[in-house]
Symmetry: C2
Subunit: 298 residues, 2 copies
């Protein structure tokens, strides 16, 4: 019996909370605003951005899509990110990949103000996350953790394998699992015996982008499998990294693709944007209070 | 046959290089300067700081010890770090633990300018390290990696276990091993079967601070063991986390304590300080060149 670890119900709960908090801000005259920067004519990216914008709008968040040319140089994208970082009317910033060939992603990530970095793209956010300081984690990584906890899967004292070591999923997920007292093995293309390694884990998180990479031989009976892979097919389907058919009846729990990590990720981007707007508002009130408290300068 | 993976020879090589580079800087009128901030009357800390200062002096680096009161509040320590960060005559800054009870370490780490953060204490340095951007790693973590590579121990495609998940050793070491294509398991106090886990690893790095924690049952025959533990005894000896007697003849290689990771760490702090001074000098030359190139302001 394999439990389907769906994310749609959890995403609805998050969005309801976001809607209520966005309404409070709007009443105070603040429109929580998310800016999404793109520089591609990739159709699936356009679809994804429209879906974020739609979700945002339904929860009371304004989504401002900054669509740059697919051949925009690094300088142009950088300038857009700096402007949005300095714009007090913008609370969250997402830099959407893919970016034009030759773009210096490292320079661009640095340009997203950490307090608006709702998808945890700036290395400063990652460092603060690792150090246990307040920071936005990459939304997909946070979605993995939140989804596991939502489904009451114990992490403390359990073993976990993370397949993939990207900066946006594998690396932060591994760290967040360790922080929650799991014993974590990070696997990747150079792992000598992938199936033998993942088969020792109570929880397996897969974030590689290779459809069907993980099959029954990789998973111990009863283990939990979180599939972060999303590969789009030409006929418009979305494929995970896990051969789900092979795991049904074998794994203890499995996230569906689509409908697992994905909807939670999108909901968290909105939640982070509202959090950023709330913090900016508190900061403003604090500064105003300080100004009122301060003696008039001579 | 167990190879002793000593660090003294490597440290000597690093110091010779540091000495040559420091001499070049001194000839240009720049004294490479390392500031060590302490706020404790702990005798072993005082001993360690004197040993760094001695090493620094022998390589041509000026070491400035800023000894604050053992009951200095966070504000005072913070102010010292900010001043050193802004002082163009200081190139490297180390904040030495232990700090007074109740100190907010998080606030202090943030106050060390990343370009002077020669012991990788600021989360910004950690984030940049994780993202593959130029940054100083925590010197102990870097020493583990450098010592392994110095002794020609292959990492790519090998399995490694890191015991301990501290921000200064376990966490960055694990990440740096993954970056070098090892498959890495992070273990800690909640690991259900420590010996069973470490026994699967080709390389075991131990950084816990519990003398004798790792014994023969934890290590597969022929594996490499890196002992980062240093617990000082009342009679002035230094104990590692590994029961060395039990591993001689069993492990393939083992770092001695003392004389393994420790001397490399100290040498790297000096190397990082010279690197920081060189970068500051290049930056100055660049700015000077820009000023000369620029038209005279109207």
């Amino acid at each position: 019996m394999t439990t389907s670890l769906g994310g749609s119900e959890m995403a609805r709960t998050i969005r309801a909370d976001v809607t209520a908090r966005a309404a409070v801000l709007t009443q105070r005259g603040i429109t929580p605003t998310l800016a999404v920067v793109t520089a591609t004519d990739d159709e699936s990216t356009a679809w994804y951005v429209r879906s974020i914008a739609g979700s945002a709008s339904r929860t009371g968040i304004h989504c401002d899509t900054v669509a740059l040319s697919p051949d925009a140089p690094t300088d142009t994208i950088h300038a857009a990110l700096v402007e949005l970082s300095n714009n007090p009317g913008v609370h969250g910033i997402i830099l959407q990949t893919p970016l034009p060939d030759g773009t210096d992603l490292s320079v661009l990530r640095d340009a997203i103000a950490p307090e608006k970095d709702v998808d945890g793209a700036n290395p400063v956010s990652l460092g603060r996350l690792m150090a246990g300081q307040p920071a936005f984690a990459p939304a997909t990584a946070q979605a993995v953790i939140d989804l596991v906890e939502y489904h009451d899967i114990e992490l403390k004292g359990r073993t976990a394998a993370v397949v993939g070591r990207s900066l946006v999923v594998g690396t932060p997920v591994a760290h967040m699992l360790v922080q929650r007292n799991a014993t974590v093995t990070v696997c990747h293309r150079h792992t000598p015996d992938l199936a033998g390694t993942t088969r020792h884990a109570d929880i397996v998180v897969v974030a590689v982008g290779v459809p069907g990479l993980i099959s029954q031989e990789h998973i111990a009976q009863g283990s939990t499998v979180i599939d972060v892979g999303t590969t789009a097919t030409d006929d418009g389907r979305l494929l995970g990294d896990v051969d789900a058919d092979a795991l049904i009846g074998h794994a203890g729990g499995l996230t569906p693709v689509p409908g697992g990590v994905g909807p939670v990720t999108t909901a968290l981007l909105l939640a982070n944007t509202v959090t950023a707007a709330e913090r900016a508002n508190i900061q403003d009130q604090f500064l105003t209070a300080k100004l009122i408290d301060s003696p008039v300068p001579a």
